[in-house]
Amino acid sequence: MATPVVAPDTGETARPSRSRSSAGTKSAVLAVLIFIVIVTGWQVLATSGAVSPLLLAPPVDVLAALGQMVSDGTLWPHLSATVQETVFGFLLAVAAALVIGSAFAYSPIVRNAVYPYILVSQTFPKVAIAPLIVAIFGYDLAPKVVLAALLAFFPVLTNTMAGLTEVSDDEVNLFRSLRASKWQELRHLRIPNALAFIFPALNSAAVLALIGAIVGEFVASRTGIGYAIQQFTTTGEVAATYAALIVLSIVGLTFYGLLTLTERLVRRNR
């Protein structure tokens, strides 16, 4: 079974520096054009009657539904529940993965004994045990946090392990020749090396945590965007369903942006 190690960001991608701004403007223009085409196509498709209004609401209605949710305040409890579940699940997963990944990196014995079980646990879809987890942890925050954490855990684990162990013999020899202590080798070689592996994994982990939280809400919940989507679908509020999906993608993008910002701060000043 494959261990999905996300390629580390060694910062070696070539970046055309001279024509960067003009190329940037061009892609921005192109992106806006694509957006306009999609939204127009969507509007046409939804209003022409080609697609049932039970499946697709026109963007104008979706926007109105979104505005409604924001102005009457019904969005906020759902949003805050989902964000909380995702953030807690994400943090739990990252903390556990960093600790366990470091332990594995430092003790091959522990790693060889425990890692196979973690691998096996990866081979079946964890979504399938969502009902079980709800049964164990109840209907509130806990089961969603657990699901989010379970999904987010693995990529961070493998990349922490890889980042801490995949240093070259030459690098290790350099530190040995400088009589570095184990702690110095960790602080000045292995951790900075691992960061290039861990940050890309955090992006996947954030997305996976969000998926975990939504699945948890689908199974059993009284709040959350996932719960809201289910409600809207059963009551046939198509525009509201799409509005909720848009909120979800905004949540995802926000996590992504925050992680990118954190990475810049952490990796800039070392």
Binding site: T10, G11, E12, S168, D170, E171, N173, L174, F175, R176, S177, L178, R179, A180, Q184, H188, L189, P192, N193, L195, A196, R267, R270
Partner: protein, 276 residues
Amino acid sequence: MATRTLANGSRRDTTEPSAITARTVSKVFEGKRQRVSALSEVDIDIEAGQFVSLIGPSGCGKSTLLKMIAGLLTPSSGTIAIDGDTVVEPLPQIGVAFQKPTLLRWRNVLDNICLPLDLDGGRPADGETRARELLAMMGLAGFEKHYPKELSGGMEQRVAIARSLITQPSLLLMDEPFGALDEFTREDLNDELLRVWQHEPKTVVFVTHSISEAVFLSDHVVVMSARPGRIHATVPVILPRPRERSLRNAPEFYDTIRHIRAVLDEARLGEAGGEH
């Protein structure tokens, strides 16, 4: 020559150059599929303060020997001693420039050069000044804030050399440090290296594939043969010091090159001539 004229008091300026002895040193690498006999019964005596080059065909064990002197590899048999003490771990007075530059990609050039200081109790007040001086000496002034990925291979090598010099080691181990440079830059840096060596007395063990470089720099050239790696001959270089650029045009310089080329050839042929 070799008067100790270190300007400001550094914590290492009391260290005298080290003498190196190797006695019947052999190294066998036990691989999964095969065992490689990298070095066989090597004997060397390097006097304190000497500049000695190792030269020989690729794979004859030059890097291996250098790593053993550095305390990074243990001989399979025999002993290596520095100033009479058997080497079991890297000693504080060594500076190593590896065959690959091995710069840390998250540190800029200045911070890479200062790494040895950071690992040894932090940068002294004049640490960064000295790093800048070394960088300028390597012809890279102004590149302090660049990251390794922004440098060419030869520039990376020069940064690695600056890093190996920052602690003012009394034993400098250099593995093809100028291998990725053009002839002229290489000659410039040879001159600079000799200047450092005369200014801060130290023993240097220098691996190279360039006969002229070995001759220009060294007191002795150790010629090795391959499979298994052995020392074929140690050739003294009797050329006056300090050595100036003009020496590169002198007939006696060419004579020595010719001589060493002949010895190398002999080493190669002896190898092709088979075992006894």
